[in-house]
Every structure is written in structure tokens, then in C-alpha cells.
Symmetry: C2
């Protein structure tokens, strides 16, 4: 019996981050129990309308490696996306590859499938216990007492040594932490929301595979992510106050809106199906969560969306959550499983990076819905491409830094700021050079 | 029976803002019921250690005028403070008056006394009902159902038409609102805390009356506010991590700390009394709260600290809360008691001002504990004084704008920024003038 096996770990939430965190702790021999408020996701029907697609990238893959799930997941359950396919208003389409030289890509995966694989993996550990339909109703932070309500309306009290709050953006663990002194917290909704539409992959459906498709329209956009199950998950992002104009309008108005802005998309879907999905749909909100610290006392730690929910525009929400597990793992080794220190250090090491990806994700919405159509952006991409080709180790564009490396998010932001400065100075020098050359040429002509 | 008398108003919290808000609504004939989780403050013993002194200024006075309580409160229950008395480290004291020309001042008042007067006033309205020891435990926002727990452990359910959440910085109403979509919220603790000491007004006690006394020490400070009951409420503000060094140390260390930094203060208090208060004391935290919006649906509104708790360094917390009542009153008249519109407009009209005073209050801590000892600050005060004398309507210094006018806080901030710019430009012009004069003088000497 190792010393770890005596430590009782409670993990709140059996979503992707909670499940992966449980795998990590189980690998080290801890006595792990998971409590999930909902039923087993593997037994649930897929619900449309909620964000059901995730984009797995380097940080997520690295964390999955530790539990040996990276290859099987990528090979069997994902669809690669090598770049963005931009659908212009004039019907012209063009591809912006994510990583033209190193050929790296994002992997589109269904949240349900991914979560299912992790849960099935968990069931194989003898030191893990899974409890579904256990709703956390109370926490006493000083005595570490957790009170749950089961589906049979019974109260269950447990007294674990360590609690990981992995219960998502609307975390109950965090709801209790908010009342504690010196716990800094902010939740901010952006003024834009989203609404999902399933696009079946029929014979007539000719969306180019291997891409994340974007219809950027300035203040709003439609995107489409490929699925293994031969359909595309399409999401319409737009200002919240504009949704009623579509969702609550008549069939004619709905078709006219889609025809006006997403003509080639309408050609891919049965109009009746589109109208049915829109009429039965509901606009959903997008929230950013920031906390500081993530830990309470020596025994409670928030991870994943519970600690740092972000808007989905960088496809980094789950990757950042999975990276939390990698960081936790690093700290367990660095501090020789002294959990008290590990929890405290987790807050110190993680908060700045989480705030950086939160900002980057907000910025990326503007890039996706608007900048990708601008000449200045496409020129910047070209300069990036040339410098990346010449200095593949030194000049990595921002999107690649975030999606295809494990460099801290804050560092990615700083590197990008430095790149902006370098390009700005290069432009100044280039202008100077042109100016001086012109001066010399003109002077020599005049003096001749 | 007026149409107002049919509208059932529930006010959560019988603190100063809840009580005043109830007075306003009672004046208009609404059917008002107040629910307070604690017992009647008038029956409670004064507890030391918690912030018990408030500085009443223009905005608070204006709101009290509406219910005819301004004069009686000022005359019978307050101690005027005409300026700040700065106690330097070298033992030298100097006064910085608040408003040298218009002779305006702040009024120090005990929170308990003020609250008591408002409650006694409330009891005289036939359309007001006061319930103490009613703890709000649940809110159903769609059905407007409020559930309370009484001191006898009974559940009481009420169904009001409108709910005002005036239950302070740790508001239960707000705790429930946090879970609603599109409710933006942030709570941030500053790294500094406070601890209170009572200084009896003995014969030997020679703190100059009519002042707010400050011992500014760079990263920390001691302040003293006068009380009607012949004692001073003294507050030590400092970084949270420094408190254990004092509060948990021995008698010698406590005396040595106060002797080192607040020599003249120690001379005013019995050392045994000081040590007793310090040893039994506890450092308290300081929080800033921001929400957006303040209202939910057509029937719930946060007011006072529940909506916008701020740090206490501008003495504006209660004044801003009382001003909320004035704004509410203006909107009731503007929109002819259409409460649905009034609640929505309250958010629109109030949020930016509340955020401005929150920022100003944070800034004022730096001014009080540090800047007041700097030459540059004192010079700026002198320039302000001259311009204020010459243009008493046009050039009102920031502190006077905030404390002695009812100009919106955001506007006060903007005026101050404009003043900074004017002074900066004047300095540039003055330097230019000196430079040119010197150049002319030197040239004429050389050419002679």
C-alpha cells in the first residue's frame, strides 16, 4: 500500500477535465471518487443545440499521452482540420492553412465520444469509484465536509482529504468559494451568443473536408466543424439582441436571412430541415470566468472551466483544461506529492496563463468574424508565413504558438507582441529605405 | 387608495440604504415590507472592530433631505470634519482643508445611530412593515417568490411585486442573481485590510477636533474619525500579510511597532488598552463589487453595497448608496411610477457612475497613505487652491466634486482628467516662457 493510496481524493464533475484529472490521480495510486450531478453521458442521447464539438490540439494531446489515450482518440474518433476555409460574401472561397510547413492540424471531436472514452478508461482503475446523479449541495471548507443529494433524494456526506472542483463553467464548488474572503472572482458575458445547426453530410453536400469552415460577416459569423458521424456541426454566432429577429421570425424571414448572408450554405441543406432547426432553437450565452486563487485552504482546487471558462473562439477551452492536468502532474513530481504545496503552486503557476488565453479567445472572435476578410490581416499572414519558413524555430505565428506548442499562453501573447513590434519596425525601416533611395535617385537626376 | 398602495414592495436589508429606500417608497404610498436577517440594530450592542463610522457628505445629505432627516441628523448626531490633519513621521502635523473657500465639510456619524434614526422614522409610516431576523434563503425570479427562514426556524414565503436588494456587500439577493444568464459580476479583494482601535477622548487626548486625522506611512496608514460619544474610531490599514506580524505578536512588539510609526498616537492612549485591543483584534478584508445590470426582469433591483460595494477611502460608500435612492426617486417621477421602466433605467443610469467611484476610492487609498506626504501632491493642491479661488464655479478640485457636489461620479473623473491636462499644459507654457525669456536675456547680454 503506497502512501498515496491512503489519500482520499474527491473529484466533482465527470466531464472531460474531471475524468482526465481522475485518470492522472488514479495512475499515481490515489483513492479517487468522482461525483457527477448528471447521469452517465454514455447513456444519454446526444442533445443538439449545445456545444457538442471540441477541437483537440497540442496541449490536449500532450495530457492524453500521459494516460495513453492520444493515438487511439486521434485515429478513431477525430476529423482533422488543416486550416480555415473562408466563405466570402461574393461566393469566393479561400483556405488559410493553420501550419503550412509543419503540417500540424486541429482535431475535431465529439464531446460525448471523448468523455465516454475517458469514463471507460476510468472504470478500469481499481482505485477509482464513479458516482453519477450525485448533486453537490453543500461544502464546509474547514471540515472538508461535502454534502450530496442523490437521485433518490437521499443525503450523502463524505469527508475527503482533497477536493478537485472540475464541475464546469457553472461550478457548484466555485459558487461556494465565492462566499469566502479573499476569493477574487469575475464572470462576464459577451454581448454575443450562439445557436447550433446540424448539417447532414449528404451526397450533395460539398463542404471541403479537412477544414474548419467560416462565413465571416463582420459583426456575426457562421462556422462548421466536421464530425466522424458524417455531419457538420454549424454554429451561428451573433449579437444576442439580433437572435429574436431570426429565431422568432417566420419561415420566409429565416430563409431570406440565410440566403442573403450564407447563400452557399443554404444550397447544402434541405430548407425545411434548416427552418425546423431554427424555429426549435434557442440562443445560448457565452461566458468568461476568472478566479484568483484557484485553491482554498490546503484541500480544494478548481480546474478547467470551473476555474477559467473562456469563450470558444480559440478552440482552447478543453485544451486548457487538459493542460491543467499536465501542470498538476508536473507539480506532483516537483513537490514530491506534497499536495498542500501542489495546490498552492497550481494557483501561482496557472492563473496568468489562463487569463492570457481568456483574452486571446476574445480577440480571436474578432479575427474570425471580421479580420480574416481584411487585406491587412491577409498581408500580415503572408509576412508571418515567410518569416516562419525562414526561421521555423524562431518565428512561430500566434495561432501555431497557441494550438501547436505547449509554451505558456502568457508567453505566447508576449511573443506575439514582440512579433508585432518587429514587423512594425521592419515596415518603418523599409519605408525609410524607399524614401532615401528615392531621394538619392531624384537628387542624382536633378544634379545630372 | 392610490394605485401605489396596491403595489407590494419587498426590501431586503434594513441597513442605512434599505431603510432610506423604504422611506422613499413609503412616502409615495407603496405597500412596503422590509426583511432584515439580523435583529434590530437599535437593540444591539455596538461591536468594535467592524467599520462603525461613516462620513456623510453632499450626496447623502441630499437624499436625507427628501425624508426631512438631514438637519436633525447633522445637528444632533454628527461631528464635522473640515479637513485632513496629517501626522508626519518627524512629529510635524499639518492640516489640508477640504474646502477652504466654501467651508464645506464632511460629517462623521456612527452607522448605528444613523441606521436607528432611519428605522424609527420608518416605524411612523402606516404603510411600512418591519421584519427582523428574517433570513432570505431562496428566490424564484420568474414567479417572484421569496423564501425566508425566521429565527424560530419557520419558513415564510412571500410574493411581492417588486424586490429591492439592499442587503449589503455580501448580498444574498445578488448571490442568487449570479446564477442567472447575462448577469455580469466581479468581486475583488484588495491586498490590504483593516483593523479598528477605539481611542477614548480623555483630558490628555489632544487630537485636534474638526479633522480626519491621518498618519500616512507609504504602504500603510492609521486614520482617526471623531465620534459624538467622546471617542475616536481609529483604523489601521495595511497589507493583509503584514497583520499577523502585529496582531499575533507579543506586547513588546505591538508597542514597539506603534512607537516606531505612530509615536504621537501612542502618547494619547493607555498602552495596556492599546495592547488589549490589538491582541483581541482581527484583520478585516476590503472588497470591491461590480455588477451589470443591477436589475433582473421587471421586478428585482440591487441598490447600495449589494450593487456596488467600494473600498472606504473616499468615504463615499453610504453616500453612493443614498444617492441610489435619489436616482430612484428621479426615475419614479420621470417615468411616472412605471416601475418596469424605472428598474431598467436605474441600471442604465447608475452603473457607469458606480464604477467611477469604485476606481476613485481605490485611488484615494494611495493618496491618503502616500501622496499626501509628497511635495508634488502638495504643489498640485496649491495650484488647485489658487484656481478654485479665482474660478469657484469652474475649477472645483476632485475631492470637492466628489464630496460636496452631486455631479455624477463619472463626470467628476472626467473633469479631473481635464484639470490634469490644463495644469500640464500650463506647466509646458510656463517652461517655454522661462526658456524664451532666458534666451532673450542671454542673447542680449552676449550681443552687448
Amino acid at each position: 500500500m503506497t502512501s498515496q493510496s491512503k489519500v482520499k481524493i474527491a473529484i466533482i464533475g465527470a466531464g472531460p477535465v474531471g475524468s482526465l484529472c481522475a485518470c492522472f490521480m488514479a495512475e499515481y495510486g490515489y483513492d479517487v471518487t468522482i461525483f457527477e450531478s448528471r447521469t452517465d453521458i454514455r447513456l444519454m442521447q446526444t442533445t443538439t443545440g449545445r456545444s457538442i464539438n471540441l477541437a483537440l490540439s497540442e496541449r490536449g494531446i500532450k495530457a492524453l499521452q500521459f494516460v495513453g489515450l492520444d493515438n487511439i482518440l486521434i485515429e478513431e474518433l477525430t476529423e482533422p482540420m488543416h486550416g480555415r476555409m473562408i466563405h466570402s460574401t461574393d461566393g469566393h472561397n479561400y483556405s488559410i492553412p493553420y501550419d503550412i510547413f509543419k503540417k500540424k492540424c486541429l482535431y475535431s471531436i465529439s464531446r460525448k465520444e471523448l468523455n465516454g472514452v475517458l469514463l471507460t478508461k476510468l472504470e478500469k482503475y481499481p482505485n477509482v469509484k464513479l458516482n453519477f446523479s450525485y448533486k453537490l449541495v453543500d461544502i464546509d471548507f474547514s471540515s472538508k465536509k461535502l454534502t450530496f443529494q442523490t437521485v433518490e433524494n437521499q443525503q450523502v456526506i463524505i469527508l475527503p482529504d482533497i477536493v478537485f472542483g472540475c464541475d464546469g463553467a457553472h461550478s457548484i464548488v466555485r459558487q461556494h468559494m465565492i462566499r469566502l474572503p479573499m476569493f477574487n472572482y469575475s464572470q462576464s458575458y459577451i454581448n454575443h451568443g450562439y445557436f447550433e445547426i446540424n448539417l447532414p453530410n449528404t451526397k450533395e453536400n460539398v463542404l471541403t473536408p479537412g477544414h474548419l469552415h467560416i462565413w465571416p460577416r463582420g459583426t456575426f459569423m457562421l462556422i462548421a466543424l466536421p464530425n466522424k458521424d458524417s455531419f457538420w456541426t454549424c454554429t451561428l454566432f451573433m449579437p444576442m439582441d439580433k437572435f429574436p429577429l431570426i429565431l422568432e421570425s417566420g419561415k420566409e424571414e429565416i430563409l431570406s436571412f440565410f440566403n442573403k448572408h450564407f447563400k452557399d450554405f443554404v444550397n447544402l441543406i434541405d430548407p425545411e430541415n434548416l427552418i425546423r432547426q431554427v424555429i426549435s432553437g434557442k440562443a445560448r450565452t457565452l461566458i468568461s470566468i476568472k478566479c484568483n486563487p484557484y485553491h482554498v485552504n490546503d484541500s480544494f482546487l478548481l480546474m478547467g472551466d470551473a476555474a477559467h471558462a473562456i469563450v470558444p473562439f480559440y478552440g482552447q477551452g478543453m485544451n486548457a483544461g487538459f493542460e491543467d492536468c499536465t501542470i498538476l502532474n508536473q507539480l506532483l513530481n516537483e513537490y514530491d506529492h506534497d499536495l498542500k504545496t501542489v495546490l498552492r503552486m497550481f494557483s501561482l503557476r496557472r492563473i496568468e496563463d489562463a487569463e492570457a488565453i481568456s483574452d486571446l479567445a476574445l480577440y480571436n472572435y474578432i479575427e474570425m468574424r471580421d479580420l480574416v476578410t481584411r487585406k491587412s490581416f491577409l498581408w500580415r499572414k503572408k509576412i508571418d508565413k515567410i518569416l516562419y519558413k525562414w526561421f521555423p524555430q524562431k518565428w512561430i505565428p500566434l495561432h501555431s504558438l497557441v494550438s501547436f506548442t505547449t509554451i505558456g499562453y502568457k508567453q505566447c501573447k508576449l511573443i506575439n507582441q514582440w512579433q508585432d513590434q518587429v514587423i512594425f519596425r521592419m515596415l518603418i525601416l523599409f519605408s525609410l529605405f524607399i524614401g532615401i533611395t528615392l531621394f538619392i535617385v531624384l537628387t542624382s537626376i536633378i544634379l545630372k
